[in-house]
Every structure is written in C-alpha cells, then in structure tokens.
Symmetry: C2
C-alpha cells in the first residue's frame, strides 16, 4: 500500500470509525451516508469525507459507503491484517486484565507469551498464553519475531525493562506504566495508556461545566 | 476562574505538561525555558507559549517558567484542587487494577465507594474503599454528592448501568467498557479509555514503518 503522511488526528479517528462500522454491521446496516455516519459520531460529513480522502476513494457520490467494504479498508490501513506478534511484560492486575478481557487477535495481534518475575505465575498459562520467567525474555526475543511489547510492569521497572527490550530489537511498546519511556528523538514507537491524562481531561470538563453553571446562576441572581 | 473555550487538543496536552513538570521537580529543576520544555516534550517553544497563553500569563520573558508555580497553575486549570468525588462501578480485573494501582487522590478525586454484584466482594474493603452491592447504588447516590462514576463493568451491563447513573443524576463517566455510552448530543460528559483505539494507532505506526522500510529496501535494490 502506498502511504502518504497522514495527521495523527486522522489516524486516531480511524479506530472510532471502525468501532462504529462494527456496530452498524451488528445492527444489519450495510450502507451509510457520510451525513448519517457523521451524525452518529458527532462529526461533519465533510470532515469524514476529508479523513477518508487521505487514503484514496472510498464511497460513491450519492450512494454512501458500503459498511463492510469501508470496514475492511480501514482495518487494512490500520495494519490489522498483518498478523503482528506481541509479548506482554508484567502479569499484575493490568496485565491480567488485558489477558482476561482484551481480545488481541480481534485487533490483529497475536499474543505469543507473557513474562513475569513471580514464581507462582511462571510456567502457568492464562487463556492459552504461557507465562514465562523474565530470565527467558532475551532468549525468547532472539528466537521469535516480535513486533511489539505490552509493558505492564511496576513504575520502577519501566525504564530498565524498556532498555532491555530495546537492546533485544523491540521497536514498539504499548505502555501502561505511566512513565515516559523514551526521549522524543527515540526511534522506539511508544503508545501510552495514561489513565491519569484521561482522568484529568475529564476533570477539566467537569470543572468547566461547574464554572459555567455557577456563572449562569450568578447572572440569573440565584444561588446554586 | 474565568474560562474561555479552549481546544480539546490543548486540554489534552495539559496532563502531559503536568507529568513533565512533576518529573522536573523530582530532579530538582525549579525553572525551565519554553525551549527546554519543548525539547523534552517534542513540542516547539511557540506551541508551548501558545498553549499556556490560553490561560493567561505564566512565564516571564527571558526567565522561563517557575516549575512549581506552573505546575500548580495547570493543576488548578485541570480542576485538581476541587476535591471531586467518585464511585467505581465494577470490581473485576480493571476495577481492581484501578483500586490497587491508581492513586485517585493524587489527581484530585476522592473514591468514595465501589459497587459490584459479586457476593464475595460485597461488604469488603479494598485499600480503604468499601465495596457495596449494586442494590445500594441508587440510595448511595441520593445521599452523597458524586461528581463522576468510573465504569468498569462487563460490556453487556454498560448501557443499562449508564441509564441508571443518568437517572440518579450522574453527569460524568470515566468509561472503561469499550462501549459508546451515549449519543453525541447527550449532556453526559464521557471520557473513554478505549484500549483498542490506542493499540490500533500503534498498529498503524508499526505498519507505516514496515512499509517505509520495505520501500527503502526496494529503492536500494535489496531484500528485507
């Protein structure tokens, strides 16, 4: 596939489109206009057409989008058909939650193995994924093609483990540690799940709404 | 505080600034220029000055920013000083991971109580937070001021629980269910943690890099 550099904002909307298209499929919808799709996502039809135009021609003027075809096109853009292979480092609450509830294969990733330092876990399997000792990590990475590591270790281990992954040729990390793993100039692809960033954005909007309500109340001369 | 409408992109950068400033404090840095701050965050100095200018005057020309003062200003913008109160619905792996590892109070939220349907959990405490039965939810919300609910229930329960929260006056949800909870027109503030969206963005960038490397190899007439 020929690729042009697409803005990060567009890329981050693609998974949302994908989820919505899956939902439409489930409800038996096979065709949708950019207008209706936009309404359901809180986007304008022109924004949607513009997003998709980054990746070639998708819909047909006046006929809307074929839901299944659009879904498969977006999935391919997102690399979901590439059978990426991943390992999970750290089987604490978060690691376990991912192994238990998160369907990696649904999103095009194969979870080959998990790694931990807890002797009670090492040698066991969880939902078909073997849990190995951290001592086996380097050997495993030498013998298997691994596209990405999920990092779910305690804070203190985040940087040392990242250095070890880097030294073993890993160049993409899905980071759950809330630690900035690398310098901005690094070649490592890092995607952060920062729970606190998400919560603080919500906090901002709650505060904003409270302020607006207080201001409205003040203007109307009433007390909250 | 007087508020102007600030773009969502700026708001989403604020928690990143906050984390960086905390890190600088820990390392004993008390003053930093927009140039150095930008370098550490992969942003231009002018972008940083522009972001902060949305909220009034922060730095002093030629002197840079006072790290502690800037940190406290941003924390206040984010509503971290408002003592928001929260409840957690669902004490599965994710709920437990949050109760176990996520320090709500550090981010200005007080977690009053968790709720679940599992009889083995009901009546117990986890890190000082009581776990109550879902049957007690409505009564609890009537008697306590709750600014936000953390939703960590199974998929099927997401919409019914959201409707129940709405009916009980909750107007902000931190959503871990990977279900779109509301229509875009809804008054409910919803902040989603979509693990899959995050993973798929990473997948896109891995695929893009692989394609670039393949294209480079092809130009150079070598095989990967």
């Amino acid at each position: 596939m020929k690729r042009v550099k697409v803005s990060n904002n567009v890329i981050r909307r693609l998974p949302r489109y994908l989820r919505k298209l899956d939902e439409l499929s489930e409800h038996g919808v096979s065709r949708i206009s950019s207008f209706d799709l936009g309404q359901q996502l809180g986007l304008t039809p022109s924004q949607i057409r513009q997003d998709f135009s980054c990746f070639g021609e998708f819909g047909q003027q006046g006929y809307g989008y074929n839901v299944a075809a659009l879904r498969s096109h977006i999935a391919s853009i997102l690399g979901m058909d590439r059978d990426f292979q991943a390992v999970l480092i750290g089987v604490g609450n978060i690691g376990r939650a991912l192994m238990d509830n998160f369907c990696f294969s649904e999103w095009g990733f194969r979870l080959l193995s998990a790694f931990d330092i807890n002797p009670a876990l090492i040698g066991t399997e969880f939902k078909g994924v073997p849990i190995r000792s951290m001592d086996e990590l380097d050997g495993f990475l030498a013998e298997n093609h691994v596209d990405m590591a999920v990092l779910a270790v305690p804070k203190d281990a985040a940087i040392p483990v990242t250095e070890r992954l880097t030294a073993n040729g890993i160049s993409a990390i899905w980071n759950f540690t809330n630690v900035e793993l690398t310098e901005p100039s690094s070649d490592m692809l890092v995607e952060n799940i920062h729970f606190s960033d998400s919560l603080l954005s919500l906090s901002y909007y709650i505060a904003e709404r409270n302020d607006e309500e207080a201001a409205r109340a003040a203007r109307e001369g009433r007390k909250l």
